[in-house]
């Protein structure tokens, strides 16, 4: 049996697949010890650990350790003169008119930051040797006395030559064998010292937390007789065996949204769709990603709580528009949706737990797209009157009725998500009309058609059981390892062979790592070259098939870069502008052999033929359909609501829906 467990902020989701049978379970999360929630989910599903052959786990443990500043006690070591890197940061403010501005707090106190005399130049040559006598005399005793669980090393130019960091690591390891060490050349070997130091310090900060968590988890599993594979989801959209996380905790950050995108990609592949815009609409926010040819784009950097983390992550944009986002009118009279949310308590007004401010969910209730009797397959009854009451004030201030106000709020929520989609598409030089829209999360399929209308998208793919796509993503994630390096050089005749040599080295190292972890079988490779015009600071990644390298000349690489530059900036540089290579990312992937199949869960709910829905300024009778009862290729003509267990799809007038052979619902715009 294969099991995916995704620990979220509110709920822990479990998906189990056993010989084609799929079980889905949702239990409350247990934030203080997330593993308890995970094992509760196993219990609720009636699964014996001994029967599980493959367990994939995603959790917010690493992210929460940073957000709540509950990581390990760490020290930070920098080149002499630069112990303040983490406090200087980039000298700018994120909010330019905020007089009470505070920088994001690093995970280490200034008193725990130390220096070593040394200096390496940008080409890797040693300018000043590492002062080993001073290390032995000053640094080692200080590290021993500090009671640290981990130490982060970030020496200048370590991306160009790791020699000093390696020697320092060796000296610390010899003197203080119990101390965990994160060295910047291993964590993020790329230039820009603050971003590299931030990544390295956060890695040291979360590593002991992750180790402790996985120790407990594995011990409990072993105690229950588990003998299968245990792997952990990463933010790059792949999984790795839990053992590999013992040296790479940072890649486990933000794995939840990545799992969702992977689940969406896999589910869409069944319907032979590879170009997708996914959006995962949850309670407080919506995550948006663009998928090209079955691959989600990677971003080289992300941040948690304002602190930069230089590690490849799926390029996901988040907006504060979810089902619980509050609808309000600001002091300039403008209608707003979010970013504040009603949260889990009190939640939307219609939950009847004392909420009085209207939310997006309340707007759905008022306009009729959420039926109070059919929420969560009838498992939770909603208070429609409370939803109406909550909108009274907004309606009055807009000079309309309650239904008009709800419709307005929905349009604005749609616009917020549309802007997030434009960020990952239009702003990156991609036309959204070339993609299918794939909504998931409980609240996604209710808005998908209206979002598609705004963007000119004509096709929507709604996966079965869209509420558990993230957990499904865990089960269908490949084993993936990405390595990035800085390799700065102008494009010339030498470049292709330099790239090929680096590529071969990275390939060898990664394959050795896979072999050591017992990951055998055919491996796929992916190479992205980060290039820019000489003098620019920001690179554009250009994907190159490693097998193609021997045939590519410098001019070919330059032309591919210029094309990518044109897509984003509307120009390909003035004639004669030189192009340089800055770095590259190499990826190894071992694909999963078989993908689990998910079907819609029957709600078994009695429902009327139709219900009233407000759309486009009019009230229409929308047909009501049970998603699980829909026959293959039976066409549902809008207006209609296709109600599933964990979410409902709204099919507006002018749209048609039908289930395809892969179990997905395909919504198409007519004409």
């Amino acid at each position: 049996m294969r099991v995916g467990i995704e620990v979220g902020g509110t709920f822990t989701d479990l998906v189990a697949v056993d010989q084609g049978e799929v079980r889905v379970v949702k239990v409350p999360s247990t934030p203080r010890s997330p593993d308890i929630g995970a094992f509760n989910a196993l219990g609720a599903a009636g699964i014996e650990a001994a029967a599980v052959t493959d367990l994939v786990h995603g959790s917010t443990v690493a992210t929460n350790a940073i957000l709540e500043r509950r990581g390990a006690a760490i020290a930070f070591v920098a080149t002499k003169g630069f112990r303040d890197i983490l406090f200087m940061q980039r000298h700018d403010r994120r909010s330019i008119y905020d007089l009470h501005y505070a920088k994001p707090a690093p995970p280490v106190r200034r008193r725990d930051c130390f220096e070593v005399a040394e200096r390496i130049g940008p080409d890797g040559t040693v300018i000043a040797a590492l002062d080993e006598a001073a290390v032995t005399r000053d640094l080692l005793p200080a590290l021993a006395a500090g009671g640290y669980q981990a130490v982060a090393l970030c020496l200048l130019s370590a991306y160009a030559s790791p020699a000093h960091e390696m020697r320092l690591k060796q000296m610390i390891a010899a003197a203080l064998p119990g101390l965990r060490i994160a060295a910047s050349h291993e964590v993020a070997p790329e230039f820009r010292e603050f971003e590299r130091a931030s990544t390295t310090s956060l890695s040291a900060y979360v590593q002991p937390v992750i180790d402790g968590y996985l120790d407990r988890f594995e011990a409990t599993l072993a105690g229950a007789g588990f003998t299968g594979h245990f792997s952990v989801m990463q933010s790059n959209g792949g999984r790795m065996p839990a053992t590999a996380m013992r040296s790479n905790a940072i890649s486990a950050l933000l794995s939840g949204p990545a799992a969702g995108v992977v689940g969406a990609i896999r589910q869409a592949a069944r319907s032979e769709r590879g170009n997708l815009i996914t959006f995962d609409m949850g309670g407080t926010s919506t995550d948006v990603a663009l998928v090209q040819d079955g691959e989600a784009a990677l971003a080289p950097e992300t941040e948690v709580d304002g602190l930069p983390i230089r590690t490849p992550v799926l390029d996901i944009v988040t907006v504060g528009a979810g089902g619980g986002s509050l609808i309000w009118i600001d002091d300039g009279g403008m209608l707003r949706v979010g970013p504040r949310s009603a949260g889990a308590e009190p939640g939307p007004a219609c939950y009847g737990r004392g909420g009085t401010m209207p939310t997006v969910t309340d707007a759905h209730v008022v306009r009729g797209t959420i039926r109070p009797d059919a929420f969560l397959g009838g498992g939770m009854s909603l208070d429609a009157d409370a939803a109406h009451r909550a909108f009274a004030d907004v309606a009055k201030r807009l000079g309309t009725d309650v239904r008009g106000a709800a419709a307005a709020a929905i349009r604005l929520a749609v616009a917020n998500i549309v802007r997030a989609i434009q960020l990952v598409s239009t702003e990156r030089g991609r036309d959204p009309r070339d993609y299918a829209l794939l909504p998931f999360g409980g609240a996604g399929p209710l808005l998908a058609a209206e979002i598609a209308e705004e963007l000119g998208i004509r096709e929507i793919l709604v996966p079965p059981n869209p509420g558990v796509i993230s957990a499904l993503g865990l089960l269908s994630a490949d084993y993936v390892k990405l390595r990035g390096i800085t390799r700065r050089m102008g494009l010339d005749a030498e470049t292709p062979s330099v790239i090929a040599a680096d590529c071969a080295r990275l390939r060898e190292a990664t394959e050795a790592e896979f072999a050591a972890l017992g990951l055998t079988g055919p491996l796929e490779h992916r190479l992205e070259l980060d290039m820019r015009f000489v003098g620019q600071a920001f690179e554009i990644p250009v994907a190159v098939d490693p097998a193609e390298l021997p045939r590519l000349g410098a001019a070919d690489l330059a032309e591919r870069f210029a094309e990518a530059h044109r897509r984003v900036y509307l120009h390909g540089g003035e004639p004669g502008r030189k192009v340089e290579l800055v770095g590259m990312r190499f990826g190894v992937r071992r694909r999963l052999d078989a993908l689990p199949e998910v079907r819609e869960r029957a709600a078994g709910l009695a429902r009327p033929e139709s219900a009233e829905v407000v759309t486009g300024g009019a009230t229409v009778q929308a047909r009501l359909v049970d998603a699980a009862m829909l026959d293959l290729n039976e066409v549902v003509v809008g207006p209609a609501l296709i109600e599933g267990y964990s979410s409902t799809s709204w099919v507006p007038p002018g749209w048609r829906g039908a289930r395809d052979g892969a179990g997905n619902m395909l919504l198409r715009k007519e004409g």
Binding site: G121, F191, Q536, V568
Partner: protein
């Protein structure tokens, strides 16, 4: 035309998003460290009359004046006379600009043959010619500060990329690879803005786009007025001092009288020092930016879009011939220092009306620090803009080592400098102990950066302030530390003035020290735990900790 509120909300957010995208692409496709690392540039969308509608929030100082500098261009080249491919360029401080390094580009947005607005961008250029690379500390008039571009109409096909105007610019700048590349980044940003507005006009109709542009300005005005109305009526006075004119003048006062009347404010800088012979003079457009930035930051919520509407409730006056409204052709390169004192004077004035909203003075000095070297491969110019410690507020310590309220430049990574410059190396970058002003809340700490010079012949030129004066604390808080700049040569310390230029030799160690911010409230009200924490972290020394409340 009357827009329905939802369409208005959607369209206005789309216009703001377009301006933000312009700003991102301006920085990300730029070439010089001053634009790509320090992000010293801004972008905006204007309506057809040049009213600013939405801006990318990068540099507060540049945001107030984009619309203003457009007017002389429009007067000379009315929008209806423009053709496809035309754009307008200007940098003249005496035609509404700020200083010559800030070059403005305006690209008309055509919809069905008609101009419905402009994409605008401004970037601080590393070198724009003039008497010295990057920064001419000794300039005694505008001509010595760089190439003056009056309002110009330029055509992309005819005048750029090999055309006459581009070749003229290229011939007059010392680092054309960077400066010309940054101009291309401005053009890219404007083209993005033009494209996005055209898309909106096609999707929603041009009339709705026009109505949104007007509506967004009215919206900012309404919210500004709502915030001003909560401030008690009255006239409040404030004053702040510059060290000197850089030529030994002694302290120069900037004085502000702030009159709050209902939902409007008038600020009069009567009593400010006369203009000076050095580059501290501030063109009037920059004074408006500084004044409105201060009032917006102190009185309103940060989410109000900064556009022409936000300027409407505020009237600013400065007598002609003073530091804040100089006569042509006084040099203006270092205008940020004078307008920072204008910012301080306005803040001090309103501290009497809204004490809980203001902050103490920070170092609040733009320190422009330029190292240049004519090597075998031509000029190599490094320019960095430094802030210092922030002033403390009623509920928070001042931020350590951060750029000034009127600016928002990032630092250049040391590893980027190591790659790009062979004639110097940064060897130290650290917070300065005991540089914060004491108080119930302490000011932000200042910092220092040291550069080892590796060849003979480079020049350092810089301007700064508060080398003799200090940032004042407020409501009992103490002052922050002063700044300084020293060259250590063969064991001897050479102190440079706050506005200076100096020839360097191999082996020199040059250190720029940036000052701290003032404290808020009486020091004895600070908790012992916070003092102890700062002591452990080396923000303050034992001596200061022991004398904190004495």
């Amino acid at each position: 035309m009357q827009l329905d509120p939802v369409e208005y909300a959607i369209l206005s957010q789309s216009v703001i998003a377009a301006a933000r995208e312009m700003g991102v692409k301006l920085v990300r496709s730029a070439y010089s460290t001053i634009l790509r690392e320090a992000r010293d540039g801004s972008a905006a969308l204007l309506d057809a009359r040049g009213g600013t509608v939405a801006q990318a929030e990068l540099i507060p100082m540049q945001l107030g004046s984009i619309g203003r500098v457009f007017q002389p261009c429009a007067a000379m080249f009315p929008p209806e006379t423009l053709e496809e491919g035309d754009f307008l360029v200007i940098n003249d401080p005496y035609s509404g600009g700020q200083h010559l390094q800030d070059v403005f580009f305006f690209h008309p947005i055509f919809h069905e043959g008609e101009v419905i607005g402009f994409g605008a961008s401004v970037a601080h250029h590393l070198d724009i010619g003039g008497g010295s690379p990057g920064l001419n500390a000794g300039a005694r008039d505008l001509y010595a500060e760089g190439l003056i571009i009056p309002p110009m109409k330029v055509n992309m096909a005819r005048d750029w990329h090999g055309g006459g105007f581009e070749r003229l610019l290229r011939a007059n700048v010392r680092v054309p690879q960077q400066t010309m590349g940054d101009f291309d980044a401005q053009i890219a940003a404007n083209n993005i803005g033009v494209l996005r507005i055209q898309e909106l006009a096609r999707r929603y109709g041009v009339e709705k786009v026009r109505a949104t542009m007007a509506g967004l300005q009215d919206y900012s005005e309404r919210r500004m007025r709502a915030a001003i109305a909560e401030v008690p009526d009255g006239t409040y006075w404030g004053e702040a001092m510059l060290d000197d004119d850089g030529m030994g003048s002694g302290p120069l006062p900037v004085r502000a009288a702030v009159t709050v009347s209902g939902d409007s404010i008038t600020v009069d800088f009567e009593g400010t020092a006369p203009q000076v012979g050095s580059n501290l003079n501030a063109p009037f457009a920059s004074v408006i930016s500084a004044t409105v930035s201060c009032l917006k930051a102190a009185l309103t919520s940060p989410d109000i879009p900064f556009n022409d509407g936000a300027l409407r409730p505020i009237a600013v006056k400065a007598p002609k011939g003073t530091l804040l409204n100089p006569n042509h052709p006084a040099p203006v390169r270092a205008r940020m220092i004078s307008v920072s004192r204008a910012w301080n004077a306005v803040m001090q004035a309103i501290s009497q009306a809204v004490p809980e909203k203001v902050i103490a003075q920070g170092y609040d000095t733009t320190t422009a620090f330029c190292l240049s070297w004519l090597g075998p491969a031509g000029w190599s110019v490094y320019l960095e803009v430094y802030g210092g410690g922030y002033g403390a507020g009623i509920g928070n310590d001042g931020c350590d080592a951060v750029d000034n309220p009127l600016s928002n430049c990032s630092n250049t990574p040391v590893e980027a400098m190591d790659q790009d410059f062979s004639f110097f190396r940064v060897v130290d970058y650290a917070l300065r102990p005991d540089s914060c002003g004491i108080g119930a809340r302490r000011g932000g700490a200042g910092f220092s950066r040291s550069y080892r010079i590796l060849v003979d012949g480079p020049i350092v030129s810089h301007y700064s302030d508060r080398f003799t004066g200090r940032s004042s604390g407020i409501f009992g808080g103490g002052p922050g530390a002063s700044g300084s700049c020293q060259v250590l040569r063969d064991g001897e310390v050479i102190n440079l003035r706050s506005k200076d230029a100096f020839n360097l030799k191999a082996g020199d160690l040059i250190t720029i020290n940036l000052g701290g911010g003032g404290g808020y409230g009486v020091p004895s009200e600070r908790s012992a735990a916070l003092i102890e924490r700062d002591l452990e972290d080396g923000i303050i020394t034992k001596e200061l900790a022991e004398n904190w409340a004495k």
